[in-house]
């Protein structure tokens, strides 16, 4: 059990490490990437619930990002797989609830339920993938700064920053606690009973409060007055404008004109 947690722990760190590399994508102003990703996500989720074909061209965006940013596809796919159960649970009953037949492929009936389920999976892959790519290409802290520059209330970004910063330390603490437990629980083979789990949770909460107090003290001793200030210059240059404008035009065209269908018909015409 703890090995699994350890693994997840290092994986979050790995996402941050990816953000430290230097590629054309990483050099782009984070605001550009954030804006483009937001437009991308809105376009993807705004489609009709049975849409499949229209979503496929959107895979070009993550593909370009992976290429530009030299990011590891396998690692990102594994991350996607990790969160996929949530979405699968949301959509898994669609095929039973919605039995209207849309197409017939020979003997197989494709129902609306299956279509909406696959559409949901596609959307999940696109949006969560884009979010992962955003973090892997910019780094969480930088993204928070970008959000603030774009007008997100400071209290919100500061919360996010501290959350991210202490995630590692808290996870570390939890891992050590689980380790200590498994080293002293022989008969239970490392299983944590509900009663013990509650105590551990309570303990972790108390430790967190103590830690928060010490961190607050550290902030106070460095003249903290309620506002976190950071020195960072962002530059929104031609490449950023080109990146945002190019992709947004691409997404909006896909979304609001029937380019995909047109292309499909064109291909069919030619092949005929």
């Amino acid at each position: 059990m703890s090995a699994k947690i350890d693994r997840a722990f290092y994986d979050i760190g790995h996402l941050d490490q990816l953000a430290e590399t230097d590629t054309p994508l990483h050099r782009l102003d984070p605001r550009a990437k954030l804006l483009t990703t937001i437009v991308f996500i809105f376009c993807v989720v705004s489609y009709d619930k049975y849409e499949i074909a229209g979503l496929l061209p959107f895979f070009l965006f993550p593909a370009v990002l992976i290429g530009l940013g030299n990011l590891p596809l396998g690692f990102l796919l594994r991350k996607l797989l990790l969160v996929s159960p949530f979405v699968i649970f949301i959509g898994i009953f669609n095929p039973w609830l919605d039995r209207a037949v849309f197409w017939q492929l020979g003997p197989v009936n494709i129902t609306g339920g299956w279509l909406s389920f696959f559409s949901l999976l596609l959307r999940f892959t696109l949006t969560v993938g884009a979010a992962l790519l955003l973090v892997a290409s910019s780094g969480f802290p930088t993204l928070c700064m970008a959000m603030e520059k774009l007008g997100t209330p400071r209290i919100f970004t500061v919360q996010l920053l501290l959350l991210h910063r202490y995630l590692f330390i808290l996870t570390g603490e939890a891992i050590r606690m689980i380790r200590a437990h498994s080293l002293r629980s022989f008969s239970g083979k490392g299983r944590i009973t509900f009663r013990v789990f509650l105590q551990m949770l309570g303990n972790l909460l108390l430790r967190t409060i103590d830690r928060a107090q010490r961190v607050h003290l550290a902030m106070l001793s460095r003249a903290f007055s309620g506002e976190i200030r950071v020195l960072r210059k962002f530059r929104f240059g031609y490449s950023e404008v080109f990146f945002v404008a190019g992709f947004c035009v691409f997404f909006l065209t896909l979304r609001f004109t029937g380019v995909t269908a047109l292309l499909g018909r064109l291909v069919l015409e030619i092949s005929r």
């Binding site: 760190g13 941050d16 430290e20 780094g139 969480f140 802290p141 920053l161 501290l162 991210h164 910063r165 202490y166 590692f168 330390i169 830690r211 010490r214 961190v215 003290l217 550290a218 902030m219 106070l220 001793s221 460095r222 003249a223 903290f224 007055s225 976190i228 200030r229 950071v230 020195l231 960072r232």
Partner: protein, 252 residues
Amino acid sequence: MSHHIVEVRDLKFQYPDQTLALGGVSFKIHHGESVAIVGANGAGKSTLLLHLNGYLTPSEGVVRIGDFQLTPATVQEVRRTVGMVFQDPDDQLFMSTVFDDVAFGPLNLGLTQEEVRARVEQAMETVGVSHLKGRPPHRLSTGQKRRVAIASVLSMSPDILVMDEPSSGLDPKARRQLISLLQTFKHTKIIATHDLDLVVDLCERTIVMHDGRISADGPTMEIFNNQELLARSCLEKPLRMQGCPVCQNSEA
């Protein structure tokens, strides 16, 4: 500026649960002095340190830092003067990169961007962590974290450095490097520690605490040669002042 940079008079402190942590502590520290505060676990060292930058308010007694008596009105000024290095660097380094962390204090002091940048570079240079400036602090080794923690305090140009167990958790080499680094500082230093060998290297004066009171205050060597006092305060002679066990055995 007054002659004494730190003055504590009849300081008493009781925690809300009625534990008397400090039962009347008095001492004065001069400019540029380097003072160790030693004592058993629970003797009141950390509680005392928390008073020096105004995190705790005395139940009774007076704390003066530089020209200011510590009151809620002067606490900001005091915190600017006193740089506090915490025992656990994970508590102290809360920003997401080393640079941001070192810049946190100066930015809060309202300095200009150039000034902040210069101070941060200078502080990182002094402790030798310039190459780490873009790294997230939680991914550094303990030795590196400790250096960054010190840099994050140095960048505010404090007059007084207060440190809680600066050598805990360091490997022998990192500890040695830390000692050499601290030796180059001209600040007034107040160091609470169990590492008595570090005290011998760094502090000419030692204050021994026991049960919330000062049981001795004097030249470090004098105190460490007082076997009876050390035993009473749950301490031992620094290792280097004890006979070498290997040599003793070979002589016998």
